[in-house]
Symmetry: C2
Subunit: 380 residues, 2 copies
Amino acid sequence: MPQTADVVVIGGGVIGAAIAWRLAVGGASVVVADPAPGSGATGTAAGMLAPVTELHYGEEPLLRLNLAAARRYPGFVAELTEASGVSVGYRRTGTLAAAWDGADLAALRDLHEFQRSLGLNGQMLSGADLRGLEPSLAPGLPGGLYAGDDHAVDPRRLHAALVTAAERAGARLERQRVQRVEVDEHARGVVLDDGTKLIGACVVLAAGSWSGSTAGLPAGIVPPVRPVKGQTLRLRLDTSERLTHVTRGTVRGSPVYLVPREDGELVVGASAEEAGFDLRARSGAIYELLRDAQALLPAVLEMEWVEVSTGLRPGTPDNAPIIGSADVDGLVIATGHFRNGILLAPVTADAVQQIVLTGSTPEDVRAFAPQRFAGLVRPT
Amino acid sequence: MPQTADVVVIGGGVIGAAIAWRLAVGGASVVVADPAPGSGATGTAAGMLAPVTELHYGEEPLLRLNLAAARRYPGFVAELTEASGVSVGYRRTGTLAAAWDGADLAALRDLHEFQRSLGLNGQMLSGADLRGLEPSLAPGLPGGLYAGDDHAVDPRRLHAALVTAAERAGARLERQRVQRVEVDEHARGVVLDDGTKLIGACVVLAAGSWSGSTAGLPAGIVPPVRPVKGQTLRLRLDTSERLTHVTRGTVRGSPVYLVPREDGELVVGASAEEAGFDLRARSGAIYELLRDAQALLPAVLEMEWVEVSTGLRPGTPDNAPIIGSADVDGLVIATGHFRNGILLAPVTADAVQQIVLTGSTPEDVRAFAPQRFAGLVRPT
């Protein structure tokens, strides 16, 4: 017996759930299909909202989107908390990028200059400044960069809030894998693993790393996403030596970040490996994260071990997301968020809401249309 | 409604389960009380059976017991496997003690001399010998000591086999905590957490680290055990670079051992901390185990992370177990096995069987009677 909705969303991670919420609020009937919503990259992400300290040279178009996303966050969080009754752990802590040595400090100075040239908010710190802000950091760090606008959210709570808000607004969750998308000249819906058909006037593909392997998509439409494995650790400290800022560093060339939660949890991230769809935790990633984290924050070694989690970031050829209408009527793509999925969920959801409900694509995501990869030969 | 048995065993770890099996085979009716059998030190232990490489100067009486226990193992395993139908992962691999540097090699030479003076089987190895035996060890290790009689067993499978064999022989398991022991001039049994009385002609206290905190014992009878926290890691490697021998070393002063299982699992152990009854995994222990394990075996960093587990070794003032009749009729103590519980389970069970069924204490455990700690002032 087929079921019918205005929109079928493939994927119920933070991107799919945010889209479902915004569409349901906008009046659409929505079904989200996901066998384990939030268990992918969403559940592993540390939740940094860091357009400034995540800045990579040569990614200015993405930077503009990231900055817009960061500005959108407080309003989004307020509205979501109101709609769901769930606190999402949004903390306006600011972020410290601590230098490991003199060369690293010089690199942070260059980054700071680049940031200033783009009009971004940042401030160089001496070693004494750094210890003043975070007394439990390792002694001897030569200084750092303070980014007052880079904050953090708890992705697991964010996801729980989005699912609750979406369901309260009338969206429905189907806890099944999508077997295939049904497309002729128009997207028609999906078939679930148990054979159920979900017929939708519109299909939104928001399956993260699995977006490229969804069956039924015409060859030219398959988004070029690849899984980039990431591991994060969750530790816990119940005493007073807690960080109050998101803190990151590059210890002997190896990047690490520490995201403190209000309840004493500390998330340490993140490894990055091209290992296909392998979700097994690797001992070496755990070792390197602990090694680098304790170099910045010695108290890490006294913390309780809570868990390691592994997720797959959906990477794209230019590290930017893929957001927009595909060249098939009724098919919208929202994937490839790579390192920025938590930050970009609100602007992505707003954009997809507008695309689906009005047919027009908002200005701020036009640079990220699927068509920019047209003609790309996909690896087989 | 009280229940009655010939023997009530408090604690269903590897010691309590082995005792229950031997007593049931000997014709006694047996009840074992444990809320989570095998979840203590048994479930964390790596399973080295290492009287030679675990040798500590000044512990010769314990060494004699350990050697007797190692000799008893093959027969014990054969009988247990036959009785239970469960394979216990007993591997006669021999053990390599790899030297980290020249000073460490000199220390192994001294240990080798000491071993020879005691008539023990050991053999010094060059660096080339070491790599010949284990090609995946780190290059540059200067040599080591081969102990051909030190083997390993899988403690979790051993425990499963013991429980099965004990139950097949008629023993019964009560999955509850013991609230208190009932003792007047004679041990009378125990009261479980739900109030059930188990009346026994004999009570065997085999509760590992919790043996000292069992309520109802007269003050002079409480065994002086303290918990010594240990953490082990379970990793997995599915390729060819597997160890074939138990391998241990002391990396910059920090001891580590690697116990390979047939199925590709590798157990890395073990931390040692005096932290009371705190069972939380500590990040620093994980970090140090991975750091030292990868120094000996670089492939550790490529292995799958399976789990960390934490157990409490029951330590005693002289590091030796407490086995024998207490100064209360009908009360037998079998605890305090510290680092040697897996190795000593068979001889402990045989001894307790003889004590309970015949009243006589076998020669080989007389040095480990509870009375040796008489007059000891217990910490409060």
